[in-house]
Symmetry: C2
Subunit: 429 residues, 2 copies
């Protein structure tokens, strides 16, 4: 891993080194990649004291800069968290290698044997914010899928990332893998990020991981293709058939609670409850449960009436409360007359994760067919839209765009397909 | 199809109408889409006189503007060409509908049933140049794959496109499909194209079809994801094992001739021959065949020597002759010592279509594994990198980027996958 100061090495030079490394990574065997991953895990374990000392520098700097406790917690490493990071590296060893898989092979009338083979994307640029675990996560998933990666972390974790990068580089070198396979852009200046975003002759994809502002900046400035994600308004539609019995109501309370409360800062946390008017009888139970968990409710007139009548704390919703990603313990509630009205609302504001709670299979089928989102769920918490929860074994990012990858991105999403054609000196007529 | 003048309808308004249409297209049955395609074919047949009259206006305007014969031929429609266009529409009816296909369904330990289903991308923006057949091709492929499309053709074909658009719109309306499914941006001003490129809240993908300048413009200015393609330098590596016998040499002559001469203006036409030095004995036969077909040869010193000794006409190559897409009857020739040298050259300059001519299976395997291009070929003409030739049945464009689609794009490449999760009120632990 190149750790030279940015003043002497441009991002273009790092990318050129990455491109050269990518050629070698693309033809590594699964065994060689797994051996390198194990070397990384071992090196991170051996370097625990060094990592924690660097992280303590970042934490001290963050305190001096007046960052709040939540932000400091995001960048904090502990022995237990480091153990989790190392364990994630070993999980990646166990995941199947997507590179080399063959798709759609056949022999055409011309006698040509055609098919496609999975190959790495090549060089990835990943731009992220405070969590230092992303450095290791992304480096190991890129390595397993045969990609070189340029990492641009947040300035709050510069010391942690430098040490993590150095240890990963040592592990790669010990395995005979080019250190330029994983490089950290050390200079936190925005100009360096801009340089990365425009290297379309050298970098195959940019994956931003962070808030809406970071994603927007990448979309506005990149000439490299960007995989946008992580941002979106999440809806649940509650159909009256799911409130017919006390048990149904309790199940709805549980799913809505989990979707909203389990991790309110996550991109798949619930933002808006769409409730069919005949289901309003269940709203006090749902609202009481949520307010007891500290959730602020912002309801339209019909829903507000149902809540206030049952003495559940709620405020009137404004138009701004719909189509808004809260990332906090706030929920907007809208009453709809029909499923169609809910589908229209979701078409206008959704696209990330939407769920229906219903006992009516026809309603479920319409919802699944007509909602155009990265993930559509029936009778399940929206929090399941996650690489690990959907059985992918890992997650690089969650895409909300439609090109290339949609929803949780794991190893396969870091690859592409190459056509392979074998002939017997055929020519085109 | 909306044919209102651009002065009264903004591109954003067209895109909003397209978005609304896309919701209905996404849930159309295959039968309904095929019926609309047949209606389009019939309407184009019935409207032949009207189409040819409009096209004659475009041709007359092009002659007045002093366009050369090759350019005029690109925009010219004849009864036979129109018959070909209609026949292509009926071919699309016969292609399988990718929408609704299910991928990777399984039940997880949590009891969740997860899987992905193929769905349309949504709203496509296609920007193209003179050929009016593209208007019909793209409209019908978009319709079959359930997408709404905004078409921005060249100003040279404005009359032809207006009539084609009108006939398609009439056919859609007769089938009860929203006319906004296919809309032409009538105003040829560059500002309208720029507006389209930046509608990332409404348009899911931009597909440019044209020269390198158009693709670059889209990459530089779009905030909508762009699928870049159509541009690339094409290489053949000639291994000496493919020149061992007279029959081998003749086969090499035939494949190289076809790659270069069959359609020199195509993106998959050969640009550079990389010849291993021990194969130079075959170069005079190759060169003589090409110069007789009118090809200008630009050779490095070793190749130039071999050609001149055999009195084959050739010029010295300059550095600029490598890494250049000629789109004309010009071929650059470089002599290499080894396969590795050829692979390095291709890594620096290739990426679209590369072929090896060899009788040595190990060389073929290395070439296939190590060349990172949209299509890699063994003993076949580079002209086979084409949707129809590779058995896809159609082609919207040829992608040379790695994200989403690589190589010829047909119906499947106009779709994406949506996660569908069905549960029994599960919550995340």
């Amino acid at each position: 891993m190149t750790a030279a100061p940015a003043s002497t090495v441009s991002v273009r030079q790092l990318a050129q080194a990455a491109r050269a490394a990518a050629r070698r990574l693309g033809i590594l065997s699964t065994e060689a990649k797994n051996a390198a991953l194990e070397a990384i895990a071992a090196r991170l374990e051996a370097g625990q004291a060094q990592i924690l000392a660097a992280n303590a520098q970042d934490v001290a700097a963050a305190r001096d800069a007046g960052l709040n406790d939540a932000l400091i917690d995001r960048l904090l490493l502990t022995p237990a968290r480091l153990e989790g990071i190392v364990s994630d590296v070993r999980n990646v060893i166990r995941l199947p290698d997507p590179v080399g898989l063959r798709v759609g092979e056949r022999t055409l009338d011309s006698g040509l044997q055609v098919g496609r083979v999975r190959v790495p994307l090549g060089v990835l640029g990943v731009i992220y914010e405070s969590r230092p675990n992303v450095t290791v996560d992304v480096a190991t998933l890129a390595l397993k899928s045969g990609n070189a990666v340029l990492l641009r972390g947040g300035k709050e974790t510069v010391h942690s990332n430098r040490v993590l990068a150095q240890l990963i580089g040592e592990a790669l070198a010990a395995c005979g893998i080019p250190e330029a396979a994983v490089q950290v852009i050390q200079d936190p200046a925005r100009e360096r990020m801009l340089e990365l975003l425009r290297l379309d002759d050298l970098v195959d994809a940019i994956i931003p991981r962070g808030g809406a502002g970071l994603h927007r900046y990448c979309v506005e400035h990149a000439t490299v293709p960007v995989i946008v994600g992580g941002v979106g308004v999440v809806h649940i539609y509650l159909d009256p058939s799911h409130t017919a019995s006390e048990a149904d109501v309790q199940a709805a309370v549980r799913v809505i609670h989990n979707s909203k409360v389990q991790k309110p800062s996550a991109c798949n946390a619930l933002d808006t409850l769409l409730i069919q008017q005949e289901a309003l009888g269940a709203l006090p139970a749902i609202g009481r449960d949520l307010t007891e968990a500290g959730v602020q409710l912002r309801a339209d007139p019909a829903a507000l009436g149902a809540l206030q009548e049952a003495r559940v704390d709620a405020q009137p919703a404004t138009l701004d409360d719909f189509g808004q990603e809260f990332l906090a313990l706030t929920l907007s509630i809208r009453t709809v007359q029909t499923l169609d009205e809910a589908l229209d609302h979701i078409a206008a504001h959704g696209g990330h994760t939407e769920a229906i709670l219903t006992r009516d299979e026809r309603q479920a089928q319409r919802f699944v067919a007509e909602v155009d989102s990265a993930a559509v769920m029936v009778n399940a918490s929206t929090r399941f839209n996650d690489g690990a929860q959907l059985g992918l074994g890992a997650e690089v990012a969650v895409s909300t765009q439609k090109l290339h990858a949609r929803g949780p991105m794991a190893l396969e999403e870091l690859t592409t397909l190459k056509w392979v054609v074998r002939g017997d000196d055929q020519v085109r007529a």
